[in-house]
């Protein structure tokens, strides 16, 4: 049961009647009893809430930053018209900031036996699954004094996928990939590269790739061109442990890692390589294996949508063995993790030789631009100490990176905005060098 402000207002106006005309218990009764009677009439005549039927339809998955439209169909099977306020409750992060109160409330009038469709506009601010909480209906009586209220469970889930903002870098990297196709005469030969075609010699081409037989058949000098290998295997390993939880700018490191992984996946799939994904901290958090090129990006974004940084120390030993099991043949293993000295030196370094023995390893890490700001700040004593601490941190990272490089890994350390293109470039460079 709910009352409205109208009921309280009527009772308050009744105070005038009591004060001026009937200052007694009888006066109070004369005012309050009709009000209560009106409330009872409203309660009796309000359309029932319990028998309402609610169905949902609409978006189930969107990219983070886009808005989702979820429709709610309310059917009123009773014989009384429904005049109701309705609240479609979702978690706070499913709303555009500041619109949670207004966006969730609807006012509907549904005649007996009919139904109406309501539209709720969501704009999730967090990656992951957003579940509808419940729908609360307040059915008012004809006098507007009181009503019935009840809730229904109308389950629906909107999944906010990683935004993949680095998509904008894809066209330029694809162009570079196409250039690679025709230009491989300058590449070192004999690494299993694949013969592509013959073309005319241009100054700058490696003279060792001149095909003398073909040149003899035509009256120009011909060179052989090679196509980069296809069908290589790439395994992207995401470290979702505590180092991925640190905020860089306004998003955790993991979000930048996901972005970089998506760009690499899109690029490598176009280049004809197979890409698998593994997310791991103390345990395996998720993996995507053996998807066809058409469905790999949706599968990856879906798997990444629900990944959250765990405040745990990553078990590098388990991570390495999982990765080795998923990459039985020579592969490119891209490990996206932090470059903090202790976890790397105590966790990863003892197990790195297992990976580098058979695989090409790229270790990518999300750097924090704030560290550069700190290192260049000058002026006050506090700034100088901050700069010293930042330089210390950078030196530690550099030293860690050098140790990893000495073990045969390629190390990338770039801020969130430049990490995805840097990783794509590293991949293209490895491909051009025939090291896959």
């Amino acid at each position: 049961m709910v009352l409205t402000g109208r009921t309280a207002l009527l009772a308050a106006l009744g105070a005038l009647v009591v004060g001026l005309l009937l200052p007694s218990w009888a006066g109070i009764g004369a005012v309050t009893l009709p009000v209560l009677l009106g409330v009872l009439v409203d309660l009796a005549l309000a359309a029932p809430v319990r028998t309402l039927r609610l169905d949902r339809s609409g978006d189930t998955a969107i990219r983070l930053g886009e808005s989702a439209t979820v429709e709610l169909t309310v059917t009123n099977p009773s014989k009384r018209p429904l005049r109701a306020q309705l609240r479609d409750a979702w978690p706070p992060s499913a709303w555009r900031p500041g619109t949670a109160a207004a966006g969730s409330r609807h006012t509907v009038t549904i005649p007996a036996g009919e139904r109406r469709r309501l539209t709720t506009l969501l704009a999730p601010t967090r990656r992951g699954d957003h579940h509808a909480h419940r729908v609360t209906v307040r059915s008012m009586g004809p006098l507007g004094l009181a009503g019935r209220q009840g809730s229904h469970r109308a389950p629906w889930t909107v999944r906010a996928l990683p935004p993949f903002t680095s998509r904008k870098h894809l066209p330029s990297r694809l162009a570079r990939l196409r250039e690679l196709d025709g230009r491989t005469s300058v590449l070192a030969r004999g690494q299993g590269t694949e013969f592509d075609s013959l073309r005319e010699y241009l100054p700058g081409d490696d003279v060792r790739s001149i095909d003398w037989r073909a040149s003899a058949r035509r009256n120009t000098v011909a060179v052989r061109t090679w196509r980069p290998e296809r069908d290589r295997h790439i395994l992207i390993v995401l470290d979702t442990g505590r180092t991925s939880a640190g905020r860089v700018g306004d998003a955790p490191r993991l979000d930048a890692a996901l972005d970089a992984a998506l760009l690499l996946t899109a690029l490598a799939t176009r280049a004809g390589d197979r890409v698998d994904l593994l997310a791991h901290d103390l345990h395996r958090r998720g993996s995507v294996v053996g998807r066809s090129p058409n469905e790999i990006l949706p599968a990856f974004t879906n798997a990444m949508a629900t990944l959250e940084p765990a405040l745990l120390e990553t078990d590098m030993r388990a991570l390495t063995s999982s990765a080795l099991r998923m990459a039985p043949h020579r592969s490119l293993i891209v490990l996206i993790t932090g470059l903090d000295a202790r976890p790397i030196e105590e966790g990863l370094l003892p197990h790195l030789p297992l990976l580098t023995r058979r695989h090409e390893v790229v270790l990518a890490s999300v750097a924090d631009p704030r560290l550069d700001d700190l290192a260049t700040a000058r002026g006050t004593v506090r700034d100088v100490y901050g700069a010293a601490a930042a330089e210390q941190t950078r030196a530690d990272r550099r030293r860690t990176a050098e140790r990893l490089t000495r073990h045969g890994a390629t190390v990338l350390d770039a801020p969130p905005a430049t990490l995805p293109p840097a990783l794509a470039d590293a991949y293209l460079a490895l491909k051009a060098a025939g090291r896959l």
């Binding site: 007694s24 028998t51 039927r53 978690p91 905020r247």
Partner: protein, 409 residues
């Protein structure tokens, strides 16, 4: 949970049915009813013990049962009267002490009627803290002691010496007297002087008809009776005649009958028309309805697990604060020098050996490029730590200047 009364449509409803509500709340309701009953019972048992102050039946701290009991043990007969007629009869009796504990609560007609009664001989009337209207009606010779501004004077009740020829007071000696203070009329006996006025005055009329005015009834209360000479004075004042009559009218009934108290103590309530009290009650009903209106939310608050927010540079900033607190200038300078060397060496083509460029080669290259003396460059890049914070800031600026000079000679 099985819902036997629910239809197939209600499978999505999460609101409890009436039956569920009843099952869930019946024990709470039962407990509430029990609590209410117990409360009423306790209130019913203990409610009869409420007495006004200085009531001869009251065993409370401010009651006067003790002094009455002492007097009864002395052989006095005591009784209470509640009506005007009984009071008039008691006043007319000879050899009687009549106590008016709250003369100010009596209305003007009541006071006039008491004053009209021809009192019996050898009697005594005790007025406890009367104010001007009661004094004017019953004790015309005695006046309230006032300050120059016309405000009645009063004093706290403390032990004071009797200092007067009244036998009861002389016998009692020290007693706790205070409250309102009075000025005696001609021929009156005034005792216990306080600030030039008196809290106890006896006026003797013809035929041994005495009138005693007492500034405060505190000395008669159960709580204070055993202090100083209070008991002696109280028994002397009340026990000088064989009969003691205590006037305990229903003051509220007299006021409700439309007679305002003569004392002039009109509260705010008296100025508000009676109807508006009822209107206020109706407003309270409206407030209750408004509370019900505002009290019901449109569905519960939705909660959500949010991720922790840890800035990635948190440890670095923490380290900076540690450096500053520990005044680790040497360590800070080392970090800055090392970073500068790492930036300068590749720019000048000095190859690193085991991660660090060769000091001599680097200093020579930097000196060559910047045109500064090699010793100065060496002091900047490999020198001693700064001695205070100002020196550290200066050192950092010098290092930056050197670096800029090398990059843009």
């Amino acid at each position: 949970m099985t819902l036997t009364t629910a239809g197939p449509e209600s499978t999505t409803s999460v609101s409890p049915t009436h039956r569920q509500l009843w099952l869930r709340s019946r024990w709470f309701l039962l407990c509430a009813v029990l609590l209410l009953l117990v409360g009423l019972l306790i209130a019913g048992l203990g409610g009869s013990g409420q007495y006004p102050p200085l009531d001869p039946r009251s065993p409370d701290r401010d009651g006067a049962r003790a002094v009455v009991a002492l007097l009864e043990k002395q052989g006095l007969t005591t009784r209470t009267v509640a009506t005007q007629d009984d009071l008039a009869a008691a006043l007319a009796e000879p050899g009687t002490t009549v106590v008016l504990p709250e003369p100010d609560l009596l209305t003007t007609p009541q006071l006039a009627r008491i004053a009209e009664v021809r009192r019996g001989s050898d009697s005594r009337l005790v007025l406890i803290s009367p104010e001007a209207p009661a004094l004017a009606a019953l004790a015309p010779g005695i006046a309230l002691a006032t300050t120059p501004g016309g405000i009645p004077r009063s004093a706290g009740s403390t032990g004071v010496p009797a200092d007067c020829p009244l036998p009861e007071a002389d016998l009692a000696g020290h007693a706790e007297l205070g409250g309102l203070l009075y000025q005696p009329g001609a021929g009156d006996t005034a005792c216990y002087p306080r600030f030039g006025a008196y809290p106890l005055i006896r006026h003797t009329g013809p035929g041994s008809r005495e009138l005693v005015v007492l500034g405060s009834g505190r000395l008669l209360s159960n709580d204070r009776l055993d202090k100083d000479g209070n008991a002696s004075l109280g028994m002397g004042l009340l026990g000088s005649r064989q009969r003691l009559v205590w006037y305990l009218p229903d003051y509220a009934a007299a006021a409700a009958a439309g007679d305002a108290p003569a004392g002039g103590q009109r509260t705010l309530d008296d100025y508000i028309p009676r109807g508006w009290t009822w209107a206020g009650l109706q407003l309270a009903v409206a407030a209750l309805l408004a509370a019900v209106w505002r009290g019901r939310r449109l569905g519960p608050v939705v909660t959500e697990n949010l991720p922790v927010v840890v800035r990635a540079t948190e440890t670095t900033e923490g380290r900076a604060r540690l450096y500053q607190r520990a005044k680790a200038r040497g360590r800070a300078a080392d970090a800055l020098r090392q970073a500068a060397r790492h930036r300068l060496a590749p720019a000048l083509g000095v190859p690193p050996t085991a991660g660090e460029p060769d000091p001599a080669a680097l200093c020579a290259a930097v000196a060559d490029r910047s045109g500064r003396p090699a010793a100065e460059v060496h002091a900047l890049l490999y020198g001693t730590p700064p001695t205070d914070d100002a020196a550290l800031v200066r050192f950092t600026d010098d290092l930056d200047a050197l670096e800029r000079q090398v990059r843009q000679p």
